[in-house]
């Protein structure tokens, strides 16, 4: 990786026109343990280097020594803010590998719960991003709504953050009594709360001046770097796995994809806000058409996929989260590889922030919506 040169001797320090600022790994706005080495001219960033790995736990290596069912809880700890989505990519990959047919009701429940998870993840992003730019109140407001979603998760899965939501072939339980009512209540009042956030931020002069034209990345650059999710759609590239290669029950859902124009922080903000509205639309459709029936396929006691490999990806809240599994026919995968959206999105940080000020770097880290658990694995 590219390294920022750091002046070490006294003479070099005194002569250097630039200042090297070490941001993190313990810093309030690096969203975990990201270390960014900034080279500053005054307060303008002239060079930047990300140092990752402080949260490395060797997930992919651990997965080689676990049975297929035992790996699922590890995947919750990748992107711990979107544990439900991460869990889904693992179980769906194994199901594809084994050729299992999952019941319709399970697909619908998966759609509802992953979309709720997307809303929860975007709310956390909104809160922390707004707090990085100085609007602290939004954080507490966003957490208020996120709490409602986490309550639904707690009732359904028994956990709030790392849910271990799915089993290979379906779900651990059917939806709890009152699930439909809870979700419907949330779906009904959520848009009014979104309007509240938009009142405070979308036309706020300071918010506009802090986000418009900051961290611009063109569509070509975004594709070249491999951005995905809202970061890609903010630049105007119409790519959404839910549309391109529908999984769960997305093929039967009616929704639209929000696209930005300029690829700046403000566009990405608008894209995510609109995505929350679209997610709510999907949840509403799915909960109204929720089919009856079993939630589990007939799954063998011992999961032994045939020899082969499979790559499957879904549209996580941060972007395309994918999983590549190589099976050698035993109970344990031979190799597992995760395509981490945050890690790849973080590559854009340097391109986005050079020439901006320190305050903008914080805003850009916020707009990339990274989670260090998934970057470091």
């Amino acid at each position: 990786m590219h390294q920022v040169e750091i002046a070490t001797t006294r003479e070099a320090l005194l002569d250097a026109p630039e200042m090297t600022l070490n941001m993190g790994p313990q810093h309030p706005s690096t969203h975990g343990v990201l270390r960014v080495v900034l080279k500053l001219d005054g307060e303008t960033v002239i060079d930047l280097d990300c140092d990752v790995g402080y949260l490395h736990r060797g997930m992919e290596k651990i997965a080689e020594n676990r049975m297929y069912t035992m790996i699922a809880p590890y995947w919750d700890r990748l992107d711990y803010i979107a544990a439900v989505s991460n869990g889904l990519v693992w179980v769906e990959t194994v199901e594809q590998l084994m050729g299992l047919d999952v019941p319709r009701r399970a697909h619908y429940l998966r759609t509802i719960l992953t979309e709720l998870n997307r809303i929860a993840s975007h709310l956390l992003w909104l809160g922390t991003h707004a707090m990085d730019i100085g609007a602290v109140t939004i954080l507490l407001w966003a957490f208020r709504e996120r709490e409602e979603i986490l309550k639904i998760f707690e009732r359904q899965f028994g956990a709030r953050l790392t849910c271990h939501a799915w089993r290979i072939g379906g779900m651990p339980n059917d939806a709890y009594d009152g699930f439909v009512e809870d979700v419907k209540r949330f779906v009904d009042y959520f848009p009014t709360r979104l309007d509240e956030y938009e009142t405070v931020l979308s036309e706020n002069r300071i918010w506009l001046s802090r986000t418009v034209g900051i961290g611009v990345i063109s569509a070509a650059d975004a594709v070249a770097i491999g951005l995905s999710g809202p970061a890609l759609r903010g630049s105007g590239v119409p790519w959404d796995i839910r549309k391109a290669r529908p999984y769960a029950a997305y093929a039967e859902m009616d929704f639209e994809v929000p696209l930005g124009e300029n690829g700046d922080t403000y566009d990405r903000y608008l894209v995510r806000m609109e995505e929350m509205r679209q997610s709510r639309r999907i949840v509403k459709q799915a909960i109204e058409n929720l089919p009856d029936g079993p939630v589990n396929a007939k799954v063998p006691k011992l999961i032994k996929p045939p020899v082969g490999d499979y790559y499957h990806s879904i549209e996580g809240p941060k972007g395309e989260i994918g999983c590549y599994v190589v099976s050698d026919g035993t109970q344990q995968p031979w190799r597992v590889r995760v395509r981490p959206p945050s890690f790849i999105n973080l590559q854009a940080l340097k391109k986005m922030s050079i020439g901006h000020l320190v305050a903008d770097v914080v805003a850009i880290i916020g707009t990339l919506d990274i989670v260090l658990g998934e970057i470091d694995r």
Binding site: H107, G134, A249, M273, A359
Partner: protein, 437 residues
């Protein structure tokens, strides 16, 4: 007045023990100073409590609830906690400067209280005849404390915070000083008590003559105090805690107190200059006219505190609503908007005063009543002054737009974009929901 009779008793008692000059110029001022320090400290402590409560109500929380009923003892608990904490000094810090900086901050913030007229008569500690200058001069000493703290900490974050704060305070000091001049044209004095008397004897608040001056003063005051949305020196998301990153325990709490005391000072000065200070309609007629002098003073003090409290609430309100400016945008606001506005305000106010003087005694018109205290205007004179004041709002808006229309952030709301919603065609499903049961 029966309630406040003990004051006279105390005075008599003191006169038996000391000579009259000693009592008037040493003992009573000392009592006043003690009272003001105690009251200001209490105000500062409970301003933190109020800030936490108000922010909690804005954020759908409860705020401090555990220490005492409704958490009322929280500031005291916090103070005790900070006093008992370790006084940590970084290894490579410039120890002496590191020690001294917090005291400079606190002293600079508290000394200004000496000239603030909390009420008429005995509610003023000292009435310096250059009070306004004194306030500006002493409050800018506070900058020194921040620079020293940032430099002596030997930390890059603290240094950046100190650099920002010095630049910010110096640039906002200019518009702040210029904004005051408009009010002084009507007050014809630099004494803060004199400014209030000028407003009281004319039965008007200078806010009505000087709406723009008031807003400029308030905005620069917020920036001067490093409060959100101008809290760049301590922008916690970028610079951790800015200039006081390395401070802990009691020394940190001194900075904290200085910040709140400086807020109280700015609100007090804004109240004095623009909101009539302790003057409120009818108070004089209902109390002093009946001979109840001490009651008059006491009610005036309450009026003053209430007005300053409202402005303080405005501070909290802004802090918990608005995002933070970026450093260069802050400078833009100071130099490209507030400074020209303050200059236009001076010119227009001077023109207004000139017109009022010119119209006096013309064609049997009377605009000026007296010049005994301030510019005493008749009803028609007041109308002219108010028309100039509020007409200035439009004039300033026009001129500032002319100056700044080319700036990137001139009309950001027009630049606000709608997001496109695209119905992307569906691809081949990776997973197909089973249709048959």
């Amino acid at each position: 007045m029966a309630i406040l009779a003990p004051l006279n008793l105390v005075n008599d008692l003191l006169l038996r023990l000391f000579s009259e000059p000693t009592v008037n110029f040493v003992i009573w001022p000392l009592i006043q100073v003690g009272l003001v320090i105690v009251i200001t400290t209490g105000w500062v402590a409970y301003a933190t409590y109020l800030e936490r409560k108000i922010s909690a109500f804005m954020q759908a929380r409860l705020g401090p609830m555990r220490v005492g009923p409704w958490g009322l003892l929280q500031p005291i608990a916090d103070g005790l906690k900070l006093l008992t904490k370790e006084d940590f000094i970084p290894e490579n810090a410039d120890r002496w400067i590191f020690f001294v900086a917090p005291y400079i901050a606190v002293v600079a913030a508290f000394v200004v209280m000496a000239v603030v007229p909390f009420g008429p008569d005995w509610a003023v500690i000292t009435d310096v005849n250059i009070g306004v200058l004194f306030v500006l001069a002493v409050s800018s000493v506070g900058v020194l404390a921040l620079i020293l703290a940032g430099w002596s900490s030997n930390s890059k974050y603290a240094l950046l915070g100190a650099l920002r704060s010095s630049a910010q305070m110096v640039s906002y000091e200019v518009s702040m000083g210029l904004a005051i001049i408009g009010a002084l044209i009507f007050a014809r004095t630099l004494s803060l008590s004199g400014v209030v008397t000028a407003q009281a004897s004319n039965s008007i608040w200078f806010f009505f003559y000087q709406p723009i001056g008031f807003f400029i003063f308030l905005i620069s005051g917020i920036a001067e105090n490093n409060r959100a949305p101008f809290d760049l020196p301590e922008a916690e998301s970028e610079l951790v805690a800015g200039f006081h990153t390395e401070y802990s325990g009691f020394r940190w709490s001194l900075f904290f107190m200085a910040e709140y005391a400086a807020m109280v000072v700015v609100t007090a000065v804004a109240t004095t200059l623009y909101l009539g200070g302790w003057y409120f309609p009818l108070v004089y007629r209902l109390t002093e006219a009946h001979g109840w002098h001490n009651l008059y003073v006491a009610i005036s003090v309450i009026v003053f505190l209430a007005k300053a409290g409202l402005l303080l609430y405005l501070y909290f309100w802004l802090r918990w609503t608005l995002p933070r400016f970026r450093y260069d945008q802050l400078m833009d606001l100071g130099w490209k908007w507030l400074l020209p506005a303050a200059l236009i305000n001076i010119v227009v106010t001077a023109l207004g005063a000139g017109v009022i003087q010119g119209l006096d005694n013309q064609a049997g018109m009377r605009t000026i009543k007296s010049l005994a205290s301030g510019l005493g205007l008749t009803a028609s004179g007041k109308v002219i002054a108010i028309v100039f004041g509020f007409g200035n709002l439009f004039l300033t808006a026009g001129i500032l737009s002319l100056i700044n229309w080319r700036a990137r952030d001139f009309n950001l709301k027009k630049q606000r974009r709608k997001i496109r919603l695209v119905d992307v065609p569906k691809g081949k499903p990776a997973v197909v929901p089973v249709t048959s049961e």
